[in-house]
Symmetry: C3
Subunit: 265 residues, 3 copies
């Protein structure tokens, strides 16, 4: 991606004209995966994705295609994004740190109301260390999820609080994180109307070329606890050895693991 | 698109070799839409498209991927295009001017016989102000639509006449247009075997950064009249504010509108 | 493709940084096809494909998107490829030479066991004129096909032998080829457990801008013999006139033919 972007930027400059930038980037992975509940527990896994990013000179217009697409316009008023975008609460609070090459089940992800009706729209405004976000899922679907969230972040600490509503359901979720010596610790607690709660803690960090991450989450929404541990080793040039293992005791229980090489281009 | 095309052209020249050009371009839009017949009349609308155009040095070979694809070879003999291409009559006569960011129902589009069986093939020959086009839909489908059309265009005036046949159905359609002071007025009249007729008028123009377009069309083929009005404001850098409203009295009637920002990259 | 690749490589060098390369290439074709068993025997055929190739600096990482995708990592240890890849036997022994613009039925292709469960993985090791390949289809599918093959190639001669197993079925297949005066002759013989055999011969070559290819194959697996003849003429700039005709006596028999222009970008 970098080189094509450089190429186009340089040529726009030499030509002295205002033009849009188009850049192509991608990522891929190859490896093996284990799933305790599959008939054949071991399988191969590979994926290659290319995405084309386009940006204009009119003070920030960008679009991204590929697996999902979104488009935004921004300026002193903030930024309005539309498409396959997260709701305000998910945008500010987010998920616990994930593990593995494929996410091994993505059990680290929290439940949000604002994930169903696309295209969604989100407005973000940042002033110094403060971020405000407001979002709505597509009103064309009927009873779309609305959300508002605020975040505060310094280099070392970050906190955020979000609220979501969809029909008769409310959801309040907040997080706090602290980063010390290249290690980030994060805690999330969410409470939905009807008495459902979800909470968890995670850590992610790097020591030289090594990376490590781990999480524990418990949720009455998905009906149980899950935990995972992962590691990586940077091979350089955009390639990484990555592996992880995770277990959930929801349903009949499931253990998943993966190992392989991930690439960014 | 421009910059990548420039980049590749420049480097081919410095390298002194004959090679094909590959360029990536795109467009996008974000906004809101209204449809009087939807259960939820208001909805978000967004779209991002990237297309890859490839052209060769052999005196005009081009291909385009993305939403639709076509490929052509051209020379002194004219141009043969195959793929997702319009028939000869539609290519020369075309549609009335459209309105809005999304087309708000595309009620400005005329009915043509040559739109069903792809890949289609069209031959175009241009000599001075004259254009001749001949086309066939895919014969593999059985009873494909055939079409022939001629057009004449000066800077100020343009006229064209097309004929289509598909099985037992014939269709003759013609247009005339005049451009004065950056405003283009267009009228189309079509008559199909069985007594069906379609006709309409439209106008499109620009005053500085402002754009305006409007159309009125009546057709026994779709069973009623439709009309629309749209406007735009050029924000520069490939971005435009665009909006439109259109109504059709076909069926139970429908009113649609949209407003938003469109981008080209 | 060449020019974008050149562009990015050049800029990486001038910038003095290690970065991944992203290049876009494509191919297309347009023409007519004949199939004796279709209700309408004549049809148009056209296709345009773009693919994005990404490669990294970590001594060979490449990915390809488009119709199919694969990704590999290589070094002194050899190359491991995963995704939409052929099994070892098919990789080394391959098919007979094909004919026509579209392959006109691909009757020149041999039957292999390793073609069903993706993503597959293959390991290749090359030392001088020798190639060793080992592969497995996705074990997640249950009873995946395994394969091992060896090849030996000089400029003039090439031979190879492959073995495949999938559940209770074994398959041994080998080839020999000789290249003289820009003409390559190839013979393949395969034998599967249960008494099935497949064998064939083919030739492909060029005389100046002209190309010619032909094959004959007989197989108890597909239940009959097939043969074909094709030719091409290089128009330059990546464009070629290509045509072919092929017949199979399997089933009720079928004759296919095509003619048109193919392009690479």
């Amino acid at each position: 991606m970098k080189n094509l972007l450089i190429a186009s930027t340089a040529l726009v400059m030499t030509a002295g004209v205002a033009a849009a930038d188009v850049s192509v980037s991608g990522n891929g992975r190859m490896g093996i995966a284990y799933n305790s509940t599959d008939a054949n527990t071991m399988s191969f896994t590979s994926r290659i994705r290319a995405s084309i990013a386009m940006s204009g000179v009119h003070d920030a217009v960008a679009a991204k295609t590929g697996q999902s697409g979104s488009i935004y316009i921004s300026g002193a008023f903030g930024r309005i994004t539309m498409g396959d975008v997260s709701g305000a609460a998910e945008s500010v609070v987010g998920d616990l740190h994930g593990v593995g090459m494929t996410g091994v089940g993505d059990f680290n992800e929290m439940s949000y109301l604002s994930n169903s009706d696309r295209p969604a729209m989100r407005y973000d405004y940042t002033s110094g260390d403060m971020t405000l976000a407001v979002s709505s899922d597509n009103p064309g679907a009927g009873s779309p999820a609305y959300s508002v969230a605020v975040g505060y972040s310094t280099g070392m600490y970050a906190v955020g609080l979000g609220y979501e509503n969809a029909g008769a359901t409310d959801h309040v979720i907040g997080f706090g994180s602290i980063t010390m010596s290249d290690m980030t610790f994060k805690a999330i607690y969410g409470s939905a109307s009807g008495g459902d709660t979800q909470y968890g803690v995670s850590v992610s960090g790097a020591v030289g070329d090594m990376g490590v991450s781990a999480f524990y989450v418990d949720s009455t929404i998905v009906g149980g606890a899950s935990y995972g541990l992962g590691g990586s080793y940077d091979l350089g040039g955009g390639a990484k050895l990555v592996g992880g293992v995770a277990h959930t005791d929801t349903g009949a229980g499931q253990t998943r693991a993966d190992f392989g090489v991930s690439f960014t281009f």
